[in-house]
Symmetry: C2
Subunit: 231 residues, 2 copies
DNA sequence: CGGTGCGTTGACATTTCTCAACTGTTGTGG
DNA sequence: CCACAACAGTTGAGAAATGTCAACGCACCG
């Protein structure tokens, strides 16, 4: 079981929440955590359920979504290895406000349960770290809102692509889409067809080269202009 | 000057951040705060400036916005009495990521400066309160994102109207728009003309009655259907 | 009383969605 | 390991929604 515990440590250590925490305190956090494995399609929690833990993705991926009255789903977040979710539910609400489902078989999560809240109350260093981390996430959400507030689809897409972590190839950038294109479309609040056509158009114009989830950004200057035009 | 201090107390006391704080600790928070008055058009802080304080609106209103390369403004937030802003800048970033400007003459703010961060480090009760408060705000932002992810303009608007605090009149609801219509349009990421036409159409159909910023929602059932159709 | 900016309305251009058909890819059970 | 089902992605055509531009009324402020 030591091995499992090491995996938990590694996962938690990488989390912004625990940056700069001394080892002794960090170990007390680790005690609140356990590993859980889910199969594709398993529900991690349901809307309305009592929030007993927040989660960190160790492997696989997770979709957090809201079920709408007419049965469709609205995606709230997509989470992949290294990302955490449901902190607000545990730290404040007490109930999960949304549903979460595992998207891949062998999706492994680290669950940090409510003993963590107790620890938070005793350890200012920890709660200051969490305050800082939540603040960063707030800023991230504000950016996301700004992105969605951009009215034109090309501007939203260009904006998104340019913010993606990029590798430098000679004279241009290479980015990997972290989402399936249909999910990216949903993220940008556009129809999948529109996304497909935009990429096609840009490829025809020589702005990008598109091969599956790999995109080469050939002319960032024009892409920047497109992103700025409507924001 | 005792009077000023009372006003600060009152403003801070109403903030979710300090709910449930005992008096002694609350007083130590008050010490970190001072009141500042701005005229219409005064800059409260600039993008990139060192974040020395976060603010609570006591009177008047504030616009937080990002300046875009082409000189236009993108509104991030509108703040009115009782609301606070710029916490993340102080608690984590160290610099303001956006600009803030006073919109009315005699806009009065309470500035809570960085001594507060020191206090946070010493007082777990305080930092737990802040964690909870930030969590709630995170949830609010997620809702906002969900709202913006709704693709159709009528659905976004209906959704927005139905969430507004409403007074019950006989057989229908009365709501007050807290924003100028052009700002509401920007908030919903639609053109002001579209907003105007939607309200007009709904009025013609007998769904609402519109008089300036006061709206009577005459048929919430249909409005709900409109809000749900696209979300 | 004149100016400035908000809100409305109309006409029009454009974008984006919807629907439908087709292709390619992936994963699964036989 | 293959065949096939299920799903992701692409493309086209047409409809619908929304933005843009321009003109005008109106209220508020100096």
């Amino acid at each position: 079981m030591q091995r499992m515990s090491d995996a938990i440590r590694e996962t938690l250590r990488a989390l912004p929440h625990f940056h700069g925490l001394d080892l002794e305190l960090f170990e007390r956090v680790v005690v609140c955590a356990e590993s859980r494995t889910f199969a594709r399609g398993d529900m991690i929690f349901l809307h309305g359920e009592e929030a007993r833990a927040f989660f960190v993705v160790r492997a696989g991926s997770v979709r957090v979504y809201r079920a709408t009255p007419d049965g469709r789903e609205q995606v709230v977040h997509h989470l992949r290895a290294g990302q955490s979710f449901a902190e607000p539910a545990v730290l404040s609400l007490g109930r999960y406000p949304v549903n979460a489902i595992a998207l891949e078989s062998r999706t492994e999560l680290v669950a940090v349960d409510s003993r963590f809240v107790e620890l938070l109350k005793q350890e200012p260093r920890l709660s200051v770290a969490i305050v800082s981390s939540l603040s960063m996430r707030l800023l991230g959400l504000v950016e996301r809102i700004e992105e969605l507030a951009i009215t034109s689809a090309p501007a939203r897409l260009a904006h998104y692509l340019l913010k993606l972590p990029a590798k430098d190839a000679d004279r241009h950038l290479v980015v990997q889409l972290p989402l399936a294109k249909k999910d990216l479309a949903s993220h940008l609040a556009i129809a999948p067809e529109t996304l497909s056509r935009l990429l096609r158009r840009w490829q025809d114009r020589g702005l990008i080269r598109s091969k599956g989830k790999t995109l080469e950004l050939l002319d960032t200057r024009i892409l920047l202009a497109i992103a700025d035009r409507d924001e």
